[in-house]
Each structure stands twice: as C-alpha cells, then as structure tokens.
Symmetry: C2
Subunit: 416 residues, 2 copies
C-alpha cells in the first residue's frame, strides 16, 4: 500500500436488528467522522444480518478492493452472535484463550457487575490465534485486528461506547502510525431562513470558480441548511480552503447562524456564555425537548437555569402565573398565552431571557383555525416580550424538532 | 420471480454526508421495518457517496442478485446530486418533463413556499422516460420506479418525510400487489434488571427446543434487553409462534416490563392511562429528557401534567420548595434533595405520582464521593416518597439516556 494514496475504508455492521428496523445505526456515523478527521475516506457502509454466507461473501469482496475494513457487531455471548467463529475460519485460525481478555472478563464480573461468571462469558475471552487482540476497557468482548492480502480487518463489538473506546484508544492511533495520512478538511457554515435552491442560485458563480479539488455540499436539516466545503490536504492546503470559505461567507452573510459545524443549540450556548446571560424556558408543545437539547451540551449549567414543562393548562396557571381567563379567552395555543408563559418563567427563575412554546403537534388536537403544526413562540427580557407563529406540517416528532430549532433561532435573531 | 420464494431487498442510500458522519441514517431503519411488516426481508443496506462510478457499480452488482433495490438520496436540485442523470443512463432513457410532477413543483412554489420558481426547480420535474413516476406529495423531487432483468429499482428522495410518504402511499402497496408475500412475524418481550448472558442461561433449553424456523434474538439497550422471536409466516403460523412466546414469557416472567415491542416510556404511558393516574416530573440531571420521552407519545396529555426542569439550585428552591439549607448540607445530588424535588413537583402540579432526578452526568462535576455517573432518583405519591441511587459510567449522552430509562423503570416497579 502506498502511503501517498488516499486511503479508503469500508464499514461493515453485522446484526439482524439493523435489517428489521429495530435499531438505528449511530455507530457508522461516529466511525466515519472519526476516520475522516485523520484523512481516511469512507467509501462504503454495509449492514448485513447474522448470516454466515452473507458475512463471508461480504468479507471476500471487500478483501479485493478495500484497504481497511472495520466490522462491528455479532460478538456477544449468545448463539445468534456468529462473527467470531466466522472470522476464525476466514483467517485460518484456531481459537485460543487470551490471558489479558480473560483477566478483563473476570474483573468485570467480580468487581463491577458482582455477578457469578458463566461459561459463556469465559468464552468471550477466546480469540482466533491469527489476530492481534484489542483489549476492551469498557466491556467483555475483545476486539480483533487481522491482515490478509494487504487489507486490514478490525472487528469490534457493536455496543457504541465499547466500539468508541477501542477506536479512540487503539484503532485510530494504529492507523495513523501505519499510513502516511493527510486529513480531509471541512469548513461548514450553518444558515437559516433560506432554502437550498435559493442558496444554490446565489452560489452559481462561486461554485463555478471553486478549485476542482474543493467540493461544496448542501445539507438541509430542520429548515436550516449547512454549506460544507471539503478538501483533501494532499491536493489542497488550509489557506486555499480558508480563502474559499471567506468568499462563501461574504456571499451568504445575511443568512449565517454560525461559521463552524455546530448546531443551533451550540450556537445559542456560545452566545449566552459570551454575553454572560442566563436563560429559562417554558415548554408546552415541545414538552422538555428544548431544555434537553441545551442540557445535552456539557457546561450548559453556566447559562441555563431550567424552567417549566407546562403541558397541562393548570401548570401554566399555577407555576407560570398565566391567568386562567386569558387561557379560556384565547386558548392555550395563542400568542397571548405563550407571551405570558415566557414572562412567567423569566420572573419565576430570575433569568435574563426566557423562551416559551405552545402549539398543536398532532396527530390529534388540530382545528380549522389552529391546525396540526401551528405553533406560537415567545421570548421575554426585562425590556420586551415578543412573539411569532409558525405553521409546520407532517408528523408529531418532526413538529417537535422543528419547533425547537425554529424557536431557538427566533431567540437568536432577536438577541442581536 | 416466484411469488412463493422469500423476497429479499437491498437498500442503497446515496450521499456524501452519510460517509463523513454528518448525518445519521434513520431512513434505512424505517424502510426495513416497513418492508419487514409486509414480509420482505432486507438482506443488505449499503451507503455510498455522490460518486458516479461507485453508484454505477453498486447498481450493477445488485441487479445480479436482488429482487428489489430501494434507493434514497441524491435527487436534490443542486449540482452534487447526480442520482437522476445516472439512473437515466443506467436504464437507457432520456430526460422528459413529467406533467404531474411539474404541476406539483409549481404548486409548491406558488401556493406553499410563496417564492419565485427557479430554473433548477423546474428541472426537478424531469424524469427518465424509462421509469414509472411516483408523485411526491410532500416535496418537489418525484420518485422513479424502474425494472431491469427481473429486478425492481425504486429511487426516492432522502428527505425522511418525503420518502415515507412515497413508501406508504405507493411503493408498499405496489410491492404487495406484485408479490405473493407472507409477513415475517415478530413477538418481542421487553425485560429489565437482568443481563443478556443471564437471560441466555435461563433460555438454554428453550432455545434448543425452538422449531428451526423460529429465531430468538437478544437485543440489549440502555440496561434493558429485548427478546425477539421471529418467524416467516410461509414456514410457520401465528399459533406456533404464539405458543413459543408464551413459553418464553413463563421462563423470564420475573423480568418482564412489557410483552410487546414498546419502549419503557410507552409502557409507563399505558399504566398511567389504564389506572387513570397523573404524573409530574422534576428533572435536574436529565434536563427535560424524561419529559421529552413521555411527550413524544401522542396522547400523553391524558396523564402527563408537566413539571420543572430544575437545573440551577435556585430553581429547585424557588419552584420546588427544596429548602436551601438541605441543598447546602447534603448537596444538589443527594437522596435528600431528590426526594424533596419529587414531593415539591407533586404538590405544585397536583399530580398523583411524581418522579425526580439529580446526578452527575459528566464530563465535569464529579468528585470522589459522587463521581461522574452517580445519580439519585425519587418518586413520590400521597402515601410515600422513596428513592434509589445508580452508578453509571461513560459519557454524558449515555448517562442522560440511562438515567431516564432506569428512573422510569424504578417508578414502574414501585407502582405495582
């Protein structure tokens, strides 16, 4: 393998649960992002079931084309987990007990789980003698590193935090050592309030004049669009992509939320921390989701005080001081109610700024006047309380997500 | 194709964003689940980039083996979207304007977006003349149905709600009409409080005696394990799988949370609605996530009143009446504080039952006495307030999720 080529990898995830829709594959995205950062390009991701012939065929095919094959799943202690015996045969090995893996399994059962060790758990310490063992610091199943015909195969458990531990502590450093890698660099712009095709119209000339090795992608999500420039540092350099990124920013400047790859809640977090302001939230239709988005960010306690999930009208009245008569006159989903919710939660928590939501998320509860997807949002400060309405469509989950993102963006715009 | 064979499908998702980890693929799980329900088996899922040669190779390979190939993505109006011209060439067609698709695009711009129609949007109404057009009721890009050498290829947009609309209204009914399908039937048991390997020990004899055409899978998630029996109704019948399921339930009866494929929040929702009880929640460390899980369920307003996200200590004091001295003496993360939080939110909202959480989610904030992953949970009713502690590990996101699931399960067990 030539260290100067762009190194490509294939990700194979094994497990029936991935093929019947019971599990959403979040591992692949994490692995792709981690490999991308060190300059390894993911060419393909394949998900297959716990099926001997299919796994075998898949390994054979990838052995012909891929430099690196990362495999997750199928290493559990139960009989539907066939990956390890298959790899043993595929790489012409025989099973042996790995002492370090055995000590790890024993330690986990004796000192952490405090449960008796079963025969089937002991089996987790067995590995083919044709692999290098990757110890699992977060679980019982060891990882395995094989090589065959110039292809590296790494098998890891499908449990996300176990896989992530092995990748971070062992696989990524080992791949960096093995190949002469040049990272793929991205520059990402988060925009709001303008559709994908309108951005594309604004960027016709920009796209035409982009150097061939820099690629522009449009990534729409929740009514916002990310614009991403990508370049492999083998063909380009930081200065060139930074120059193009500045051009891009100048063209779409009126629509920029953030000039890095963050989401709206991270942008909000940055603004509040920088301005040393505090926030509280009163959520009716979003039912805690906005608070969850913000508190998912480490360190959010620096600006987020908390708030009230006022799902029932009585909670709006008793915890947020929204007058009963106002709810009766205008309805729980109204500009009047949501403004009082925002004022109530700000006063109760003593925050500098507050945000409030009330709407009809569906599938039930819609009317001609206030159909499913109708949402009222308000923000309040010591000086002003302002509000807006949105009309979304479709299903409940999407309406909750869209409301959260658009409410946060409404607040962001009105903080400037 | 023989209608009596088990029909298998491949899902291909196209888009660079899937290979650099910027997007988590939720479409595939939804499609797999929808196809599985009508008896179509997913053999493989492949994700590839916006790369002409790779897409072409992939289509050629699948044309040799798959009966059905479902393709999503790459149909947008921007220049990185190459799927449509590629399909046109692959299926030897030429581009023509589809009148119905054109009317749809015009309608969306004129009446819904109220924006001027651009040339590039008009192009979305063009399709190869070798396909049957699938109209898009939720967006501008039409779907396309091709057939070649006994393989059906369906191309759909990658936007989840657009794809779902096409699948539900057109693709699924058309596949049901075309093939003589027998559904794959699953029976799922949700268990808690026992590990995968201990369940497997209990089920050794059961597994040995299972009819060959019924498969048992162990699906661990968030400290709970789902046990799933699967059978294709061509080789089995409902009576046989129901019989085996009853046996399974009898063996693991002490660990059952639910005897259907629901999650813990749906189980909680069912219990509250059946018992006609109301719930409120005070969340510190989970920051709104438990409320979000519950309010994601349509109709949750029948039992969920709301609550308080008491992230700051002042909010615990001012909105939940937790005495300041108690927080100072025992700390915000303590049995004493979390019990007062539960009592406070129950009294303030007037709910029958309440649940409260406080813990150290990480990465910062841990101490020797209360390390990252240490969590206190309490529930309160008119008669009693009880609490427990957990020690989780690892990262913030996982700690928040584990706390939510285990707190709900703690409440469920203590409601019996």
């Amino acid at each position: 393998m030539n260290g100067l080529n762009i190194i490509s990898a294939t990700i194979i995830t094994i497990g029936d649960e991935l093929l019947i829709g019971q599990t959403i594959d979040t591992n692949s995205a994490w692995m792709a992002s981690a490999l991308n950062k060190i300059g390894i390009n993911i060419e393909k991701r394949i998900a297959i079931g716990d099926n001997w012939n299919q796994i075998w065929d898949c390994l054979e095919k990838e052995n012909q084309t891929a430099s690196i094959v990362l495999i997750t799943g199928g290493l559990g202690p139960t009989s539907d987990d066939i990956t390890k015996p298959l790899l043993c045969k595929f790489f012409n090995g025989k099973m042996i007990v790995d002492d370090a893996a055995l000590a790890n399994v024993k330690n986990i059962f004796e000192n952490i789980l405090k449960r008796p060790l079963l025969e089937r758990n002991l089996k987790q310490a067995e590995v083919p003698d044709t692999c290098s063992v990757i110890q699992n610091e977060r679980g019982t199943a060891p990882g395995m590193w094989f090589e065959k015909n110039n292809t590296i195969f790494v098998s890891m458990p499908g449990v996300p935090h176990e896989m992530k531990g092995m990748m971070s502590n062992y696989v990524i450093p080992a791949l960096k050592k093995r190949f002469e890698l040049k990272p793929i660099v991205h520059r990402t712009l988060l925009t709001a309030g303008i559709g994908e095709s309108f951005l594309a119209e604004m960027l016709i000339d920009f796209e035409k004049n982009l150097p061939e090795h820099i690629k522009l992608a449009y990534l729409p999500n929740y009514g916002m669009v990310r614009l991403r420039l990508s370049a492999n540092m083998q063909q380009s350099d930081e200065k060139t992509i930074d120059h193009e990124f500045e051009q891009l920013k100048a063209i779409v400047k009126d629509h920029i939320v953030a000039d890095k790859d963050i989401n709206i809640q991270e942008a909000i977090s940055g603004i509040f921390i920088e301005k040393n302001l505090t926030l509280s939230i009163a959520e009716s239709c979003t039912g805690g989701y906005i608070s969850h988005l913000l508190t998912s960010i480490p360190g959010s306690s620096r600006f987020f005080l908390g708030g009230v999930v006022s799902y029932a009208n009585e909670v709006k009245r008793d915890l947020l001081d929204v007058p009963q008569t106002l709810i009766e006159t205008h309805g729980a989903v109204s500009i009047q109610t949501v403004e009082k919710m925002a004022e109530g939660v700000r006063k109760k928590t003593g925050s500098d700024i507050s945000l409030a939501t009330s709407g009809v998320m569906g599938p039930g509860g819609g009317s001609d006047e206030k159909p499913v997807g109708f949402v009222c949002v308000a923000m309040s400060t010591a000086n002003k309380t302002i509000s807006t309405t949105f009309q979304f469509r479709f299903d409940r989950t999407r309406n909750i997500e869209l409301t959260a993102v658009q409410a946060l963006n409404f607040m962001r715009k009105n903080m400037e």
